[in-house]
Symmetry: C2
Subunit: 145 residues, 2 copies
Amino acid sequence: MALDLGPLDGHVGYLLRRAQLAVFADIMTGFAAHGISPADYAVLTVIGGNSGAGQSQVAESLGIQKTNFVPQIRRMEERGLVARTPSPTDRRSMSLTLTAEGETLLAELHRTAQAHVDRMRGHLGPEAYAALREPLMRLAAIGPG
Amino acid sequence: MALDLGPLDGHVGYLLRRAQLAVFADIMTGFAAHGISPADYAVLTVIGGNSGAGQSQVAESLGIQKTNFVPQIRRMEERGLVARTPSPTDRRSMSLTLTAEGETLLAELHRTAQAHVDRMRGHLGPEAYAALREPLMRLAAIGPG
DNA sequence: GCGATTAGTTATCTCTCATAACTATTTTCT
DNA sequence: AGAAAATAGTTATGAGAGATAACTAATCGC
């Protein structure tokens, strides 16, 4: 027996949470076989597209605090997906690059992610899917301004 | 220096996560003064609109597992916002109701939430805001659907 | 009445997100 | 050049979300 959610289902915040959990659950079914979370995928993607970037740079661009990024990047280093080498130009900074294994896995993950996107597009229709981007980006920007 | 997010900002899953965090951060600025999280607000709202409902019912309608709901509802009981009384018709079940204090607080929270919604509507425009509901509900339904 | 559900709980575990405090290195500014 | 401020990364810590497994007590289906 479903209860009345009252004003809740008029709140975009509530709908965003429910939608996000459902969408993440869907993409995780594909990633789980590789032991990768959506957050890991995002990190690998950014490192792959910005080889040599520093930890704080990668973290910040994903909206992760550098302090919380430490255990995540360490896990991926220990798994042999990411290499952390001291930056030659700044001795404080660690340059992040994908290992060969990381590259291979990322390519595979991109295919998995694309299958997921296609699935979501199928649920909404291509126009509705595309139409989501702009307002979501606008909402995402309200914090950091 | 912002890094290239690559295919990430084409993925609705990623945008949903970023948008959700930003929207929650906004609403939490209003709720924080009351020591209430968005999840707490959702629970109070459902109990308020379905007085006497059981724990598992409330949890399920919000997509929370009953096992994870226990500490949350206990916190709210200890704060005196919610009363848990044994159901007269089913001795396994706990009837949840708002206390007078819970009612008062919920009314206040509804006003705060409405201010937040108005703010989000201002960011997106009323049409774009309203247009978000349908696709988000559709995405939220893909799991249990 | 007996087996299968259901309501609620406890106990774990992992991951996320946040804050505070610290080291070591640049940068900035005078 | 040298002191002060900012930056890169780390550790420690804590609350909270979400998941799973195993359990008790009560109700339901037949």
